[in-house]
Symmetry: C2
Subunit: 315 residues, 2 copies
Amino acid sequence: MADVSGKRAVGPAIGVDVGGTRIKAGRVDETGRVEARSVIEVGDARTEEDIVARIAAVVGNLDAGGALPIGLAAAGVIDPIAGCVLESPNFPSWGHFALADRVGAATGRPVSLENDANAVVFGEAIAGAGRGAANVLGYTLGTGVGGGLVLGGHIWRGERGMAGELGHVTVEPDGRTCGCGNRGCLEQYAGQVGIRRTMRERGGAMATLAEHASAPARLAELARGGDADAQAIFQSVGGYLGMAVAALIHTLDVTTILLCGGIAAAAPLFVPAMEAELRARTFRSMSAGVQILVGTLGADAGIVGAAAIASGANG
Amino acid sequence: MADVSGKRAVGPAIGVDVGGTRIKAGRVDETGRVEARSVIEVGDARTEEDIVARIAAVVGNLDAGGALPIGLAAAGVIDPIAGCVLESPNFPSWGHFALADRVGAATGRPVSLENDANAVVFGEAIAGAGRGAANVLGYTLGTGVGGGLVLGGHIWRGERGMAGELGHVTVEPDGRTCGCGNRGCLEQYAGQVGIRRTMRERGGAMATLAEHASAPARLAELARGGDADAQAIFQSVGGYLGMAVAALIHTLDVTTILLCGGIAAAAPLFVPAMEAELRARTFRSMSAGVQILVGTLGADAGIVGAAAIASGANG
């Protein structure tokens, strides 16, 4: 079976994470190390031209006069083959936008574009926690829950580039309503917004804490300090993750499960419950050998993944 | 994206469905048509040698003196690369058994081996209802619920050959216990055994009918005749299937859903509820274009799929 690591260079390339608040870029070497970084705030100038100009600026900061290829990562519905942003939650005014071509014209370099969650998971698969795994089921646990799949060493994008919406696997058939139309999606229980909802439902001090700007981090502190309520909330997060992963292990027979994003920092608080639920809900021969890993690249994962794709590591 | 049909010949080859009760074989031409059939009962002689001898006999019946390659399909945990049966529900006394090599030695022909549900789904994908689709999510609705995945034109077997256990996706987190260790697996609601459980839980005439040998077929007759209880049971089957499929569409972005096996004959009774549930539980942009197809090869699907694999159609 194909191996993601070792055989493919991660760089040299410029990886650019095109976020709604800031544009973060890094010059990535062939081993996946970020050698230099550049960040520009997006601010109020948010047209297509504005963003292309800012991307060209961060690239210039990192590789002035050079010709390194550029890998872009952006949220939303992406067509990676055409290099187009089809639907952007951060830039809703954009139409179908040929971002890769436009950045190519502005910089004179080869440019690739990928969905941001796919880039994060691919970065971790090729140069981070998943290094060496050909197949990875990766979750991005942030405000919501996203994800990405690496199958046979390549990002599995699906028929229309929309695969990897791992937060929209049902874990409570009659549960909380979700923006996708479903009820009881994993995202409603295991992302920051979902955890706040759980805190509010608990009432009392938890409901008050839920309104705090850094509620999930504060909740983790409480749990580490022994607070039973806070610990129970993280255990429920783990239980829901375990249930969702069990369904996908039965479907795909993948053994490397990767946790990325801000909530993954609290992994020790929920991974034991996740593992227990996963094992209780899976054929023993299929749960054997499954490993749950926490991303090691942190906020760099998307940059590294985008650079790796620009370098041709995704084939 | 790769296209399963048209570009690859399905035969000529001999496809053999190695069941626990009978061994069914067919000579399949390059278009996927079954030109001739041969069936032998397994009876009480069930050792490894007995089965190899019977397979050699059906092959001799169909291609005496010829050299057509042989594709085998068998239930259980299969290593298709090594051609080994690792665990067989029909022949529990077998150890790790190199079935492909042994049939090759007995017949002097090239032999391949595949999991039976994968063979059914691949057969329908290449020569049946799914012809033309590169990506197929296929369910085998029989005594239990199995399945297979075709991704990018090839069977997705997973890391250890165990992928496609689509009946073990959770649809009722606190539901009926399942042999896999989980609670509320799809199989417990949408397979024959599951439908009988639902009938028993309803009590009265339904509980009596549940003990009838052909209960699911009788239930379908009742539903077609307008019986509201019977119709409700099929609607619940559709609802559970729709919920399970929604999770996998979000994960894989596959648009061709294929229903095979005995229960699929009752598709008109449950597909409307399945479609409604699927759409209610999926991003609109992802459910758009999803088509639910019913297998057209019937009991031949496994034979055709096995022959296609023997002909190299899976690459």
